[in-house]
């Protein structure tokens, strides 16, 4: 390839010999404290405690995010309009993971899904009801939120999603308890 002289300096490196040792070491990154804003989350979490769902809408491009986003990437402004969302949703995509439980060594099958809440433009990554047979799941499958027994105003208030036959029965927004 070259017009210039080839050098031979690589030759010694081709030889096979044990050229490494390993030294175990740790890197304590687990102790990091993450600071994050809650201003844009508070109304969302307060509504969850009431058993209601709200999305945050960008007043410039009208995109509704659920869960709420701090900043609209499209417009570089803070979305500030809260909109009520229905309890119904749709599977956007899903997968089944197989993770080894470190304690028992057992493989745990864990289906997870990206779910689009009706009335918003983003999806939330969460779980489906344990009784759902994943062989029957499909993209576009209609769902309805299954609330936790005790609402605490956190994301865990959304326990998982149940499959429903017909979304039209769930058109009304949830009444205040």
């Amino acid at each position: 390839m070259s017009k210039m002289t080839r050098r031979k300096s690589m030759e010694y490196i081709k030889k096979e010999y044990a050229r490494t040792r390993t030294m175990p070491a740790s890197w304590y990154l687990n102790s990091y404290k993450y600071k994050y804003n809650v201003t844009h989350m508070k109304p969302f979490l307060d509504k969850l405690k009431e058993g209601k769902l709200v999305g945050l809408q960008c007043s410039n491009c009208n995109r509704v995010s659920f869960p709420p986003k701090l900043v609209c990437g499209n417009c570089l402004i803070k979305p500030d309009r809260w909109v009520d969302l229905r309890e119904t949703a749709t599977i956007a995509t899903y997968t089944i993971t197989y993770l080894k439980d470190e304690a028992t060594g057992k493989i745990i099958e864990k289906p997870i899904a990206c779910i689009r809440q009706d009335g918003c433009d983003t999806t939330i990554i969460t779980e489906l009801a344990p009784e759902i047979n994943y062989e029957d799941a499909y993209v576009g499958m209609p769902l309805k939120i299954h609330w936790a027994d005790n609402l605490e105003g956190s994301l865990s208030d959304i326990k998982y999603y149940d499959v429903i036959d017909d979304k039209s029965k769930d058109m009304a927004l949830r009444e205040k308890k």
């Binding site: 080839r6 050229r19 490494t20 070491a25 994050y36 499909y138 576009g140």
Partner: protein, 381 residues
């Protein structure tokens, strides 16, 4: 834009557990590229690397690679992304008019750290990490299913990509030995261990140890170094949002926009007919199809019908692609090197005939959040 040429390259043979220390592997790649071009240390004017502090187990990890990377008393900097992004930085340094020779090197050694745990630290610490639902693998499961269901593509169609790439890798002496599978069948792929349904083990580009290096020079200088430089005629890059819930995973918008930008620069109007070879960084087999569609090589949902073998209508990943070995941070740079070999007629064993234009891509992030695409021409072929 002034022409910038690729004038040398070197890739260390990939290994799942390499008998190398980090510095010696970097040295072999950088010294190998300098020797390949017949140059000396004093010819280097700028050095750009791509590694990751977490993967290296050190902060500001490039401060340790000054000597082995060629950066001793030289203009030096690092990109914490793929080597293809480091090349972008190097390209800009050359275009500034201040530099005659840029060394770009990239790579890491996942045999030294828990790769998937490191990728878990890529997820959002407040939203996603506590539930641990999203990992690099489950994200690929979401993406593959979204693509399959949108276009009615079957798992067999995606397994065909694996068969093609692993067979290609068997012809590439620098590919990962475990990924060189000359006799692989569709059922081997479909029946391999399931990672995140529908992704199986063989559909996933296995992380491995490896470093690659490449040299850039401005036109007048490139022609002094070699008779057949490969010219960068277009580059485009783009970034999707991080959160998977914000994205349509059945397509790749950032690759579409990166492709448009690179094609505009290189005046490519009809990519499917103008491009002879595509080396695309696919972290999963289905990403090769999504990228081929994003880059106009096939219509949406139709990439699985392409004849993309080495002797096909358009050769995609004749080197085996990332499925032939995926050294984090080096994978995209290796795709560029493979495209350069094709243009120079030096891809021994997997050379595509009559290559005039090639594209090569690098990616970073969950479900290929960030993509960069190069259009390469020349090479004397």
């Amino acid at each position: 834009m002034e022409k910038v040429g690729i004038v040398g390259y070197y890739q260390v043979k990939l290994a799942s557990d390499a008998n190398y220390g980090r510095y010696e592997m970097i040295f072999e790649a950088v010294r190998g590229a300098i020797d390949h071009a017949g140059l000396k240390k004093k010819d280097i004017t700028t050095v750009i690397s791509a590694t990751n502090d977490y993967y290296d187990g050190r902060t500001i990890s490039n401060c340790f690679t000054v000597e082995v990377g060629g950066g001793y008393m030289a203009d030096e900097s690092k990109v914490e992304m793929d080597g293809a992004h480091a090349m972008l930085y190097g390209l800009m340094r050359i275009l500034s008019g201040n530099h005659k020779l840029a060394v770009i090197w990239a790579g890491s050694m996942p045999s030294c750290f828990p790769y998937h745990s490191a990728r878990l630290y890529e997820t959002d610490p407040t939203w996603e990490r506590p539930s641990a639902l999203v990992t690099d693998i489950s994200a690929g499961g979401f993406q593959m299913r979204a693509y399959m269901e949108k276009y009615g593509v079957s798992a067999e169609d995606i397994a065909k990509v694996v068969v093609k790439n692993k067979k290609n890798a068997a012809k590439n002496s620098l590919a990962l030995p475990e990924a060189q599978m000359a006799d692989i069948t569709l059922s081997d792929v479909l029946n391999s261990e399931i990672f995140a349904d529908p992704v199986t083990e063989l559909m996933y580009a296995q992380p491995c140890d490896g470093v690659a290096a490449l040299l850039l020079a401005p036109e007048h200088h490139a022609l002094k170094i070699t008779d057949k430089p490969v010219w960068i005629t277009g580059v485009g890059w783009n970034q999707d949002p991080y959160y998977l819930g914000d994205r349509d995973l059945s397509r790749n918008k950032s690759m579409e926009l990166a492709g448009k930008m690179a094609y505009d620069a290189a005046s490519i109007k009809d990519p499917a007919n103008e491009i002879d070879v595509a080396e695309l960084s696919e972290a999963f087999a289905h990403e090769e199809l999504i990228f081929a569609e994003a880059l106009g090589l096939a219509e949406a949902g139709k990439a699985s019908t392409l004849n993309s073998g080495i002797d096909g209508d358009i050769a995609i990943n004749p080197s085996g692609g990332a499925l032939g070995g995926n050294p984090p941070c080096a994978t995209g740079l290796i795709r560029i090197i493979e495209a350069v070999k094709q243009l120079q007629g030096e891809a021994n064993g997997y050379q595509v005939k009559n290559v005039k234009k090639a594209i090569a891509s690098g990616q970073i992030g969950m479900c290929a959040q960030n993509n960069i695409l190069y259009v390469l021409e020349g090479g004397g072929n």
